[in-house]
Structure formats: structure tokens, C-alpha cells
């Protein structure tokens, strides 16, 4: 089994002889995206003209459908079918049921139950020959309901109970230490429901080829949904080909599948025609997932010289009754600051509202809003600079587990970022800086986000024209997977980038975990490296065994790959010539990677520090971001350009969490109030003034063989707290 020590051994990525790793190359699929020619799930051309499905959402939040009048809809022009709980199509009706023992996911029935568990839950489908006909007919489906008398729509932390999975973690005696601490902060912070708002609404296009179904969907993972669909359709998973080649944003929200997924396949089977279904923008709010609201109590006890003696972060959140996802808002804080006495934990209330699930940096994204503000409050009480307070509580090992850190440059991020930003200009006393009508303030916060790696495979093929083709069941949700996989492949095989073809997003390819939890690059990238190394070994073996090769008889260990050549000292031939001679159809191998057996001996995180300058209008209270800088240390950077984009994108999400984004539940209906992009305020161009991020040089040789760490989620972590702290510095108002 691989060990952490193996990660640090020389490999083509560490050696980076062509210099392709780290280079700011343009996005691999960029020309398709800037010209609108990358087909997203709803845009894939099926073999014959598709029919159009439109979903109908429940008009109550909790109860059951007791009758459906579908006569008008069924008789409307162009309508091919109307499905609802009273005529659900034949499929696996038991949730989670598995036909196949080895399956990674159980069935997800559609319309198999009359129960309504949240407002807007899809309860009917209309399929018609045109989108116009389907949309018009969908409005004619009449549903009658019994609304449950007992229901919980309103988040009330007092009603929350223990959270399964991550209830409480204690070190030392928090209560005694907090009681004895000479300097204290004890504040409660709230964060609202937030929505993913991916620009591409969830969509599926499906058609059947005999007993096989081809499904194009906008999803972050391939393998599990493939299994889920097979179970739901009650067919062998080999007969499900699932593709997701271009995805218009995910952010965690497309880590789940929704009714469009199975229904498109079912309707296509029933009608013998391709069927495509997209959720409307409004449906994206209630009928997919959201980040739940939280209430977080932070208690910090410190000595008068700013050493934390007592540390507590307790978070209460909510989830759907049937799907008790836990927003682990306190978990990250176990890794951040040193303190001998610690208490962290979660409570959960189950509600009858839409499903809560993962959204970009689940846990950290909202947990850091509370803690990093509380640290600012503590610094003020102590009369310390906020950075100095953090320096005094920087742990040399993981504060709870005692694990050594793989590599941790949090201090360097704070110091270097402060110098670049001009942090010394900050007046610790609020309300002292003015620029015209604006009160100006500076704030900072740290960023931490767990680093993960999952098993992945990759197939790597050398072709007769010298092309190296990577095929992997990975996805690119805008993260840059295509691009970094091309870079890893090129550098591993010693060929120019132009010789590399990357194909991902297909269940027919070697499986990779997909996109989520900022584990994509580490997992799929390590798989690609393994695939490349396997192909190198195969090509080397073939060459040295072939009398027609200049490398004939050489030792396999001496074979090198550079400049498109297979070489031993001054003997060489091109990869193309070897393939042409020995296997013109191509030479393909599969490689596999998995986390090191001792990976858990180390605590591995991405780190950063945010610095923000805001203006606050003292009359209206309007807050404007004036400038923002993030300094990050995330291991080796595979692509300077796409990594920066990931981080700045995350930071802007943080700006949104601080200034504009929130959703609320209507207590009468259990619906989310904001159901479109005019009422849910994601940041726009005008909200984002000068904002940039950069990376400190780093290699995390204990994280994975690439030495990288995740960048997809690190940027949002703490970003909103830096804004909130800047608001306080500007005007003296704490945002809790």
C-alpha cells in the first residue's frame, strides 16, 4: 500500500521538467465555452428530436396528494404523457432499494409516494412535443392535498436535538477554564439559508438504444448516479451510460440528482423518444438543495496577553426530516487555533422544508463567519492587532488530535498578505477613516479548509499519431479539471500539451470521484498520474522487448520519457513510432490511486488570509466592498490562472454571504421566499471592486503524490468574516 513517504519520492510532477505544472495555461475546453459550442446537458443533440418535460411542484409543504385531475393537461395540444403519484411509471418504488449487491447507490423513486415532504417537491410531470405545449399543459394539472396539521416549517434552535454523526467534542474542561478566563467573548451569530444558484439549472436529456439508456445530465459525480439510475430503472447498470461533459456550475448542489434525472429516462422509455427535462430557475430554489441556516454560539476565554485558554463553538442548524444532512459549522474550528480547553459540537432540528445539503465548503463557509468575527472581537478587548492575536494562538500540532500538520503556512499567509494589502494603515479604533461620505474600514480573517483525497482510476492511451488520451469518469464543473488533467498527463508522459486529449464525464470511463469537497484535483489528478506511470511502464516494456526499437535490450529502469520520446540515454524513438509499429490501434492501460495508508497521521488543510476594505454609508448603512486581497497556501499550484480564478470566485461567494445573500422560509407555507435571481441576491459585477488573490510557494508532500491541496472551496472560507470585521472597523457596528 502507498504510504505518505511515497508521495514525496521523485515523480514527473515533482520534477516538472517541461514546466507545464503550475503554468497559467488557458482552459482546455475554453475555446468551446467562449464560443458557446460546448454542449451542456439540455443541449446535447439526441439521435431524433426530443420531447420536452416540465415538472409541477407541490403547493403545500407537508402532507399528501389526495387527488389529481389531469384531464385538461392530458388533452392539451401536443401532450404525450402526464405522470403523478396516481399513475407513476413502473420503476423501483422503494427508496434506497438495491437490485445489484455491489451498487454504490440505491434507487430513488419518483412519484412512488403520495407524500409531500417540502414545498415545491415535484409531484407531476408533463411531456409534450414542444416546450411551449409542455409548459402550458403543466399549468393545467390540478392537484388536491391534505396538508398535515403537525408540521415544522420554522427553524427554532430551542427545538433542536443532538446531531447524529458529529454531536460534541471536548478537550480539557471548557466550562471551568471559561469561567476562570480574565478576558472573554460570548456571542451568538446567525447565518441564513443560502442557495447555490448555479447558472445552469439542473437538466437531463435521455434516450434509449434498445435496452440501453443514454443519459446526459448536469451532475458533479458520475459513478454513484449511474448506479442510482440503474437501480431506479431496474436495469443492469452496464446498460446505463451516463454523461456529464459540461456542467454549468455545481457548488455542491449537483452532488445530488433530482426528479429530472430518473423521469427523463423513464419518459424516454415509455415514449420511445428522447426526452429532456430542465428545472426552471424557480424550481431550483425549492426543488433542489440549499445551505441551511445556522445559529452559532462562540465562547472564547483568553489570558490578558491573548492566549486562548477556553474555546467553544456550538452550532445549531436544520435539515429536511427525511434527509438529516448536517452542516458541520463547528468542525473546522478544531483544527484552527490552539487552546487547552475546548468544546465544539452541533445540534440539528428536522424541518418540513426543502432539503439541506452541501454547498461550497459545507461547514467552514458559515462556521468561519462566526469564529473569525469572534476573534476580531476578542482582539479588540485585548487591545491586540487581530493578526497578533492569531499569531499568539498558532498551534504547532493539530489542537485536538495532536497530529502533525502536513504543511501549514497560515502565519505566512497572514504576514505576507498584510504587507501586500497595507494592513498597517488600519486604525484599530472604529469610525476613524473617512473618504467623502464613506466611512472606511479594514478587516481580516483567516481561511482554513480540509484537504481530501479519494480513490480514482484513469485510463491512459498512447495513439499512433503520438496523442496521449486520458479517459476518466471525472467532471469539470468550472473548476478546471479538464485543464489540470491535461497538464498532469502532458508532464507525466513528457509530451507537449497539444498532444494530450482529455475526455471526462462518461460512466464508460475509468471511475473517479467527481467534483466536490475540493477533492477533485487531488483525487482525479493522482489517478491521472498513476495512469501515466502505468502507460510509461507499459511502453517501456514494449520498447525494450522489441528488436525493432532503438531501446531494445535496455533496462526498464533506465527508460525516460521526454520531448515526446521514449529514451535511454542517446537512444530514443517517438511514442508515435512505437505505437505504429506494435499496436496501431493504440496502447491503453489503466492506473489507480488511493490515499496513503498512513495519510491520517497528518492534518492537511488549505490555508489563507483575507483582507478587505469596505466603505459604509453612515446615513443609509450601505456597505460597498472597495478592495479585497486573499493570500493563500494550498500546496503546489497546478495552474496559476485557473487556481486564482477558483480562489477569487470563492472569495466573492464570501462577499455574498456577508452582504447580499439570504433566503428565508415563509412560515405559512414552508416555501423559500426568494425563488429567483432578482430576489436571491448573488453578487454582480458592481458589487465586486478590486479583488484579487495569490498563492504562497508551497508543496504539500504528505497530501498526495502531486503535492497539491484543494483550492475550490478555500476561497469562501473566512471571506465574509473579513468583510464583517471591516464593517466594524469602518463604523463600529458588529454584524452577528
Amino acid at each position: 500500500m502507498t504510504t505518505v513517504a511515497d508521495y514525496a519520492k521523485p515523480n514527473p510532477i515533482h520534477q516538472n521538467r517541461q514546466g507545464i505544472i503550475g503554468r497559467a495555461v488557458d482552459r482546455y475546453e475554453g475555446p468551446l465555452k467562449v464560443s458557446g459550442t460546448a454542449p451542456y446537458a439540455y443541449e446535447v443533440k439526441p439521435p431524433s428530436p426530443p420531447m420536452y418535460g416540465v415538472l409541477v411542484g407541490a403547493e403545500i409543504g407537508c402532507g399528501e396528494v389526495i387527488a389529481v385531475d389531469d384531464a385538461a393537461a392530458a388533452a392539451a395540444p401536443g401532450v404525450a404523457l402526464v405522470w403523478h403519484p396516481f399513475n407513476a411509471p413502473p420503476h423501483q418504488g422503494a427508496r434506497g432499494a438495491k437490485i445489484y449487491v455491489q451498487s454504490l447507490a440505491g434507487a430513488e423513486p419518483v412519484f412512488a409516494s403520495k407524500a409531500v415532504t417540502y414545498f415545491g417537491q415535484p409531484v407531476a410531470l408533463v411531456v409534450a412535443d414542444t416546450l411551449e405545449n409542455a409548459s402550458a399543459a403543466a399549468r393545467l394539472v390540478r392537484l388536491s392535498y391534505n396538508e398535515a396539521a403537525e408540521r415544522d416549517y420554522v427553524f427554532d434552535p430551542a427545538k433542536a436535538g443532538p446531531a447524529r454523526g458529529d454531536q460534541e467534542s471536548r478537550v480539557g474542561d471548557f466550562e471551568a477554564a471559561f469561567a476562570a478566563a480574565p478576558v472573554k467573548v460570548d456571542e451568538t451569530y446567525t447565518t441564513p439559508i443560502q442557495n447555490h444558484c448555479q447558472m445552469e439549472p439542473c437538466a437531463t436529456t435521455a434516450w434509449w438504444e434498445d435496452d440501453k439508456v443514454v443519459v446526459h445530465a448536469s451532475i458533479q459525480m458520475i459513478k454513484q448516479p449511474q448506479h442510482l439510475l440503474a437501480e431506479t430503472l431496474m436495469i443492469d447498470r452496464k446498460n446505463v451510460r451516463l454523461l456529464s461533459r459540461y456542467i454549468g456550475g455545481g457548488f455542491g448542489g449537483k452532488g445530488s440528482v433530482y426528479e429530472d434525472f430518473a423521469l427523463a429516462a423513464l419518459a424516454a422509455r415509455d415514449l420511445g423518444r428522447p426526452v429532456k427535462i430542465a428545472l426552471t430557475r424557480q424550481q431550483m430554489f425549492n426543488a433542489t438543495v440549499h445551505r441551511p441556516a445556522t445559529v452559532q454560539r462562540v465562547r472564547l476565554g483568553a489570558t490578558t496577553d491573548g492566549r486562548l485558554t477556553a474555546f467553544a463553538l456550538e452550532a445549531t442548524t436544520h435539515a429536511a426530516r427525511g434527509e438529516p444532512f448536517l452542516e458541520r459549522a463547528a468542525a473546522f474550528s478544531r483544527s484552527l487555533y490552539a487552546a487547552p480547553n475546548r468544546l465544539t459540537g452541533h445540534k440539528l432540528q428536522l424541518l418540513d422544508i426543502a432539503v439541506a445539503s452541501a454547498m461550497r465548503a459545507p461547514g467552514e463557509a458559515v462556521g468561519m463567519l462566526s469564529l473569525e468575527e469572534a476573534m476580531d472581537e476578542l482582539a479588540e478587548k485585548l487591545g491586540l492587532d487581530p493578526i497578533e492575536l492569531r499569531l499568539r494562538n498558532e498551534p504547532d500540532r493539530h489542537p485536538e488530535t495532536g497530529q502533525p500538520f502536513s504543511v501549514r503556512q497560515l502565519v505566512e499567509c497572514m504576514k505576507d498578505g498584510a504587507a501586500r494589502f497595507g494592513w498597517e494603515k488600519r486604525n484599530p479604533k472604529p469610525g476613524q477613516m473617512r473618504d467623502g461620505r464613506w466611512l472606511v474600514g479594514l478587516g481580516m480573517a483567516t481561511a482554513i479548509r480540509g484537504n481530501f483525497m479519494l480513490p480514482a482510476k484513469a485510463s491512459m492511451r498512447a495513439e499512433a499519431d503520438g496523442t496521449i488520451r486520458l479517459q476518466q469518469g471525472m467532471t469539470d464543473i468550472g473548476t478546471g479539471s479538464y485543464t489540470i488533467l491535461a497538464q498532469i498527463t502532458a508532464e507525466t508522459m513528457g509530451v507537449p500539451l497539444e498532444k494530450v486529449v482529455v475526455e471526462i464525464g462518461d460512466s464508460g470511463f475509468s471511475p473517479a470521484p467527481g467534483s466536490g469537497g475540493q477533492f477533485g484535483a487531488a483525487s482525479a489528478g493522482s489517478g491521472a498520474l498513476a495512469g501515466g506511470m502505468a502507460l510509461r511502464a507499459k511502453l517501456a516494456d514494449l520498447a525494450i522487448a522489441d528488436p525493432a526499437s532503438p531501446l531494445y535490450g535496455a533496462s526498464a529502469a533506465a527508460v525516460d520519457f521526454r520531448d515526446g520520446l521514449i529514451a535511454v540515454e542517446n537512444r530514443s524513438e517517438t511514442i508515435a513510432s512505437l505505437v505504429q509499429r506494435l499496436s496501431p490501434a493504440g496502447i491503453e492501460v489503466e492506473g489507480a490511486s488511493a490515499p496513503a495508508g498512513d495519510a491520517r497521521d497528518y492534518a492537511s488543510h488549505s490555508y489563507g488570509a483575507h483582507f478587505a476594505e469596505v466603505g459604509v454609508d453612515p446615513i443609509t448603512g450601505e456597505v460597498r466592498l472597495r478592495r479585497m486581497l486573499g493570500a493563500f497556501a494550498c500546496g503546489r499550484i497546478l495552474n496559476e490562472k485557473t487556481a486564482r480564478s477558483q480562489i477569487t470566485g470563492g472569495m466573492i461567494w464570501g462577499v455574498g454571504t456577508a452582504l447580499t445573500e439570504q433566503n428565508r422560509v415563509d412560515p405559512r407555507y414552508g416555501s423559500l421566499v426568494a425563488q429567483d435571481l432578482a430576489t436571491y441576491l448573488a453578487p454582480v459585477h458592481a458589487d465586486i471592486a478590486n479583488l484579487d488573490a495569490y498563492f504562497l510557494p508551497e508543496v504539500d508532500d504528505k497530501a498526495n503524490p502531486l503535492g497539491i491541496k484543494g483550492v475550490g472551496e478555500a476561497g469562501i472560507c473566512g471571506a465574509g468574516a473579513a468583510i464583517a470585521n471591516a464593517v466594524y472597523n469602518a463604523c463600529g457596528a458588529r454584524v452577528r
Binding site: 467562449v34 414542444t130 444558484c197 447558472m199 459585477h685
Partner: protein, 179 residues
């Protein structure tokens, strides 16, 4: 009280798309966006909200930018529409598309065609001297293309990946430094 549903009324008309005169025959309820995507196979124009709130469907009619989801196809009879495919295709990209690539002014790519069409329309508006909310001197002969102007004028195009700094850089590359 629901209106009785009748068979859709259809119309046949001419519309020029990306320089090519086309005769189309569609259900009158068809939006310009759905005409492009579902009837003409031009899926570069994206449907992000279908309500004029996100800008992903921005196309140019003449040299004015509009949200294609907010107008019916029939309203554009006889007009000339330019979509992202008409702006430039791989191998012959428009300088704005090249700048978006160079600056990494997109991630998932879904809002990107709208951002690019919008930026072209926006620059034309500035060139025509049409002021925005943040324009200082409304009577000025020429409007300086400040970063604030770019941000204000591009705010109808949401990018959830939040490539805003990079989009501004790309537009700046094409438009040049402020006068």
C-alpha cells in the same frame, strides 16, 4: 378560471441570424431564446433564468444587447440577430473571446456567451455616448470607460462562478485603458 387551451397559433417569418436570412415557422409563444436553442440549434445562447434576471441569454439585435428570453421570436421578424456563434467560433475567435480565454474570465462557461455578447453591446453603448447610472457628466461628448462604468454596465450578467475581476480584465484588454 383557466382559458380553454387551443392548438397553438403559428407564424412563419424571416429573421436574420448570424448574417444568414432564415425563414422560420414557430408557435407564437416561442421566445427568441427558445427559437435559437430549440429550433435553430444555436445552443450557445444560454437559459439561466428565463426571466431576464441573469443575462445568460444576452444576444445582439443589430448592435444592441437584449435578453433573448424576454422577447418572443415573432417580435424580431425581419431583424438581424447575432449570437455567440456569430461572434466567433474556435479557430476564428473574436478578440473579446480571446481576451476571455486569456484572462480566464469564466469557469463553468454557462454565463460566458451572455457575458461576451453583453460586453460587446456594452462597449457599443458607451461608444454611442449612452450614459449609465454611474456616469458623472451626462453632457460629456465621450464617456470615459472607467472600471466603475464596466462594472455597472455589466451587472445584468450574473456569473455565479464569480469571474467578475477576470471579466473586467478581459473587457479592459479589448477596450484599452480608460481615456
Amino acid at each position: 378560471m383557466d382559458m380553454p387551451v387551443r392548438a397553438a397559433t403559428r407564424a412563419s417569418f424571416e429573421i436574420t441570424v448570424n448574417g444568414e436570412a432564415r425563414r422560420v415557422e414557430v408557435d407564437l409563444r416561442t421566445t427568441l431564446l427558445d427559437l435559437l436553442r430549440e429550433h435553430l440549434g444555436l445552443t450557445g445562447t444560454k437559459k439561466g433564468c428565463d426571466h431576464g434576471q441573469c443575462g445568460a441569454c444576452t444576444v445582439l439585435v443589430g448592435n444592441r444587447r437584449i435578453n433573448a428570453c424576454l422577447s418572443l421570436a415573432i417580435m424580431h421578424e425581419g431583424e438581424s440577430v447575432t449570437t455567440i456563434e456569430g461572434v466567433g467560433l474556435p479557430g476564428a475567435l473574436h478578440p473579446m473571446q480571446v481576451a476571455f480565454l486569456d484572462r480566464d474570465a469564466f469557469q463553468c462557461g454557462y454565463c460566458t456567451p451572455g457575458q461576451i455578447c453583453s460586453s460587446l453591446g456594452m462597449l457599443a453603448e458607451v461608444a454611442r455616448g449612452e450614459p449609465s447610472e454611474v456616469t458623472g457628466d451626462l453632457a460629456a461628448e465621450t464617456i470615459p470607460l472607467t472600471d466603475e462604468e464596466i462594472r455597472e454596465r455589466m451587472s445584468g450578467n450574473i456569473c455565479r462562478c464569480s469571474a467578475y475581476p477576470q471579466i473586467r480584465e478581459a473587457i479592459r484588454d479589448v477596450a484599452g485603458a480608460p481615456a
